[in-house]
């Protein structure tokens, strides 16, 4: 049974260990129609597209985390549309592990109500599997970033996902040295967009929620011994994941992270979904810092479903030409 989620801060290991398929919901190729009866047109198309998908497909339930103002309201809107929902209050301010462990304990109760049992052994198994998947994806991306795969693995059983990535690693070839572009943004579930960058002669690196932010973690260095310490492990794992603009960090960790990623790149592209407030607030100051490092920077605004690939191509090619 599919349990849908939108945000990479969702503890998918818990959902999986309860016997459900954690399924990341994205906007699809379908036009957004039904969703506009539930939410205004100045919400981002990731929110509207996911709602459209939820209204048309079969899901057991949905899990939300409060990442932005839109997601916060979306939980209620999904519920109003007749969906089974749960919101986990992942803190906006990164730090308090203990508080979040309690949230996770409550989440286990919710999973139980949904018909899924969580126990220590099964949770450890899920933790191990997802860590394996994450490490394999890292390996694959080090050879050659493969966004189609990175997106696909978020919608299938983790064991199949590992097999799929294994296969891809076998056939992947190390990319040739080419000018490198860092793509930063939230989500872009359309693999064709990344191809445009390659076709324009870039090698690609990313800071995206449909790319590396799905699998970049630094794991706590202790071995869980019981359910409680496993929850603590999850809490720490997610708090130390690649930083996201929807969270507040000490010492501007998010900016420092992006600037470091950009060091070996020639250009940076902000691939932003229209109406995505957290990213658009960061954009001007982050751009200035990147330009201060001598990087060429471009902004490409997206609306889902992406249809005007040629417009994107023109911008990307123009960027390639100025390097």
């Amino acid at each position: 049974m599919k349990v849908g989620y939108l945000c990479t801060f969702t503890p998918k290991e818990l959902i999986h260990s309860a016997g459900f398929l954690p399924y990341r919901v994205f906007a699809t190729d379908r036009p957004i129609n039904l969703a506009s009866a539930y939410i205004q047109s100045y919400s981002c198309s990731q929110a509207r597209g996911s709602l459209e998908c939820a209204l048309q497909d079969d899901f057991h339930a949905f899990v939300f985390t409060r990442c932005c103002d839109t997601l916060m309201r979306l939980t209620d809107i999904f519920e109003f549309a007749g969906k089974r929902v749960c919101n986990i209050e992942f803190p906006t301010k990164i730090g308090n592990v203990e508080y979040y462990v309690q949230e996770l304990r409550d989440f286990i109760e919710v999973l139980r109500e949904w018909g899924g049992e969580v126990n220590f052994e099964r949770l450890m198994e899920s933790l191990k599997l997802y860590r394996k998947l994450e490490e394999k994806l890292k390996q694959l991306f080090a050879l050659s970033p493969d966004y189609e795969t990175a997106i696909k693995v978020q919608q299938i059983e983790v064991r199949d996902a590992i097999k799929l990535v294994d296969e891809k690693i076998r056939t992947a070839k190390k990319e040739k040295e080419k000018p490198k572009v860092l793509i930063t943004g939230s989500v872009c579930p359309y693999p064709k967009v990344y191809e445009i960058f390659r076709e324009a002669g870039f090698s690609v690196k990313d800071d995206l929620c449909t790319g590396s932010r799905f699998f970049e973690y630094s794991y706590p260095d202790f071995e869980p011994v019981d359910l409680d310490s496993a929850l603590k492990f999850i809490a720490e794992k997610y708090m130390n994941k690649s930083p996201c603009p929807t969270k507040h960090y000490e010492k501007d960790k998010r900016f420092e992270y992006v600037l470091k990623l950009a060091e070996d790149c020639d250009a940076v592209v902000f691939l932003l979904v229209k109406f995505c407030d957290p990213h658009f607030f960061d954009y001007p100051q982050l751009r200035a810092r990147l330009e201060g490092m001598g990087k060429k920077v471009a902004l490409i605004e997206l609306e889902f479903p992406v249809v005007s690939f040629e417009q994107i191509r023109t911008r990307v090619e123009a960027l390639r030409e100025v390097i």
Binding site: D29, R30, P31, I32, N33, L34, A35, S36, A37, Q40, S41, E303, P305, V307, S308, E310, Q311
Partner: protein, 254 residues
Amino acid sequence: MITVGIDIGSITAKCVVLEDTRILGYKISRVKPNLEVTAKEILAETLSFVGLKREDVGRIVATGYGRNMVDFADKKITEISCHAAGACFLISNAGTVIDIGGQDSKVIAVENGKVLDFVMNDKCAAGTGRFIEVMAAALNLRIEDVGSLAVKATKKLKISSTCTVFAETEVVSYISSGEKVENIVAGVCDAIAGRIIAMANRVGIRREVVLTGGVAKNLGVKRAIEERLGFPVIVPEEPQIAGALGAAVLGQKA
């Protein structure tokens, strides 16, 4: 009593003369930059068409975007109330009125000519007549031909963007990739229908569904709406005059 309803829309002006419950005649004209002149002219034209003088008229009611510019009107009522009244006058068992106008679309829940609830489009122009106009221009078509072309389509191409500007780019890219015009047009009509049905879902759809406004004459849009609803909708013989007629009807009561 003889009443006159004048509907000054964003693109066309409509005028209806009503005697009790009998339509004596009506006129439709293009709106001129000066709305007051537009209103005066269409009133004079319609009255002379039915052979009446200004003194014969008991009451004049203005509606539409330009209603407040019609100084000589005895009363001004919004097009929502007027479309509801007009549609119910024509189709007495109407439950829902869908009016796709030039700048604004509305879905009105009605009962015996009274408005129960209504929803209008948000700022975005998708789902209005303006949307078709922009697409028709991109395709180099006359707006009147859009509907008849759409019904000849062999498939419906998907117009995914809700934004008029982006949708125009989509249409242009279909042209350059050699898609048939009728298939593109069918996609445009379906996109509008999608928006309208989403709006209608907010008030709830009750039969009979009556389609009014200029776009109701567009067969492509009508069929696309019917496909999505799963049952036929009713288009009055002259859907464009529903607002003006409703104004005249409400003039009888006021």
